[in-house]
Amino acid sequence: MRRMMAKKILVIAEHRKGKLNAVTNELVSFAQKLSEQTKAEIEGLALGYPVKELSEEFAKKSGLNVIGLENKNLVFYSAEAYLLALREFLAKERYDFIIIAHSATGWDFAPALAMALDGNFISGVIEFKPEPVRFVRRICGGKILLEIEPIPEKISVLSLMPGAFRPVEPKTQGKVKILNLNLPELKTRALGYLEAKPKSLNLSSAEVIIAVGRGIGGAEKLDLIKNLAGCFERSAIGASRPVVDAGWLGLEHQVGQTGQTVQPRLYIACGISGQIQHQVGMNKSEVIVAINTDPKAMIFNLAHLGIIQDIHKFLPILIRKIQELKAL
């Protein structure tokens, strides 16, 4: 029976403080690609309280018809409230694909939603391939791609890697419908959103960023990075998450999804493997230089200049050469 009916795609908006997050438009763009192949109809969904303004913004920015789910437990985000609301809504509506951002909010509720619906769940999707419908994700730090064919009879819940799809400009404006839900008592109390602490170091004003990864091996070896940064004017030191987690550098240095997003003229990645979470914070840099001993490190997939060298041996030589040049 399922196959006889037109397919339907549901895009769930990600939002914060009453405003849509940019990733929502990427989800819509992906849904449109999927819809071209599957002839599916797309609808948008926003959950919140109040939800009207947000749903209108979504309908305007996406061109989709948007359903707003409203309940007092949705003032702030919680996985439990989202799951209860979505299950209530999906008990009456049939979709083939549900599209969610692979963000700290999306990966919080999406896997449990897929489980509750007994659906396919594919996490961190970066690409879609038609006939038969397949979704591609990265594994092993991006060294391997995995193409997965969902079981077609089941609903597919997909979480999409932010930055993988270009956002769209809508031609029309969609309509909005608000549904008030009744939810049972929750075991979760959402206490709200906490702003990021003010940055003690603003990396975005640096022209050159020397970024350091786990490959540096320890805090005592950071002088190398500091010396290289000292070779450039308007430079700053960036770091990948493992360096910050290890306490070698403070959080203010972190570049990536959970740190700062930077766009310097020159980004020199020293001993950074280039996980996707790091990439989204620096992939718009004008010139990216990667120095790593592992020739298959993912960082080389987005670097403009690649150097397969041990930073401990190579950086002292590079620093000496720059200093010699400046002394001329």
Binding site: R16, Y77, S78, A79, S103, A104, T105, W107, D108, P111, A112, A114, M115, N120, F121, S123, G124, R138, I139, C140, K143, I144, L145, L146, E147, I148, L186, K187, R189, A190, L191, Y193, A196, K199, F232, R241, P242, D245, G247, G259, T261, R265, L266, S273, I276, V287, V289, A290, F300, N301, L302, A303, L305, G306, I308, Q309, F314, I317, K321, L325
Partner: protein, 258 residues
């Protein structure tokens, strides 16, 4: 208080990966494995709770073939009181739905007040097993937890979840609950010598359990392959001296800095 910590054995990402003979995953043989880094923070979180509430017992669980015993032992060196392995083959241990089903089958009825997982695995990065396990056990959960405050007498835990760009949100959930722990929540510590000695000759029990949420695994058709090297990267070659000279020249030419 009873805590269950779920850990995974993952390959070093620096490894030279090969594709398996079925062409649907990486070939595990010949790789070096270690305890998933995110799970180290889950273990450390459990140990911190035990330091606060002395009557805490920490059980560590891993799903996989006999090789994952090494990771269970590592978790015990770091402070877990007991370890158990749930039998599964290499394919099964990479299937989040199946693994969540086995963990939930094990945990059901055992009165764990807290289940802790790492936020994701280093090799797959799916961030699925935790929320899926909670869903099966019908307990509340919070993922990507970067700070928590356990209010044991009120049977509550208040969690701060890490969002993007240093932002957080905050939830209060009632116990029993499941948390997935973000890296960096606490500084990691080395195992004590006494723990190392205690674990050294220990035999880790292996359970073959029935998955209460399905007899057979639903296997998706998949194809694993290497990404094409993007031609955009120009590799500089030669001696380190020569490479440094080329790099300086190129930076000067492209950016007019230096």
């Amino acid at each position: 208080m009873r805590i269950l910590v779920c850990v995974k054995s993952v390959p070093d990402l620096e490894s030279n990966f090969r594709i398996n003979s079925e062409g649907n995953f990486y070939e595990p043989s010949g790789l070096k494995f270690h305890l998933n880094e995110y799970d180290l923070y889950a273990i450390e979180s459990a140990v911190r709770i035990k330091e606060q509430f002395k009557d805490t017992k920490i059980t560590v669980i891993s799903v996989g073939p006999s090789r994952v015993e090494a990771e269970i032992k590592r978790a015990m060196e770091l402070g877990a009181d007991e370890g158990v392995r749930i039998e599964a083959n290499e394919g099964e241990m990479q299937d989040a739905v199946w693994v969540a089903g086995l963990i939930a089958s094990f945990a059901k009825g055992k009165n764990f007040e807290l289940i802790l997982c790492g936020v994701m695995s280093e090799d797959l990065g799916g961030a699925q097993v935790g929320p899926m396990t909670a869903q099966l056990l019908k307990i509340p959960y919070a993922s990507t937890v970067i700070a928590f405050n356990l209010l044991k007498e009120r049977n509550l835990i208040i969690c701060e979840r890490e969002l993007e760009q240093g932002e957080r949100d905050k939830v209060e959930i009632s116990l029993p609950a499941l948390l997935t722990i973000q890296s960096g929540i606490y500084p990691l510590r080395y195992p004590s010598l006494s723990n190392k000695l205690r674990v050294k000759h220990l035999k880790i029990p292996c359970l073959v359990i029935e998955n209460l949420w399905g007899k057979n695994r639903v296997e998706h058709k998949a194809r694993a392959y290497f990404p094409e090297r993007i031609a955009g990267c120009e590799f500089l070659e030669g001696t380190a001296e020569k490479i440094a000279e080329q790099l300086i020249e190129k930076i000067r030419a492209r950016l007019n800095i230096l």
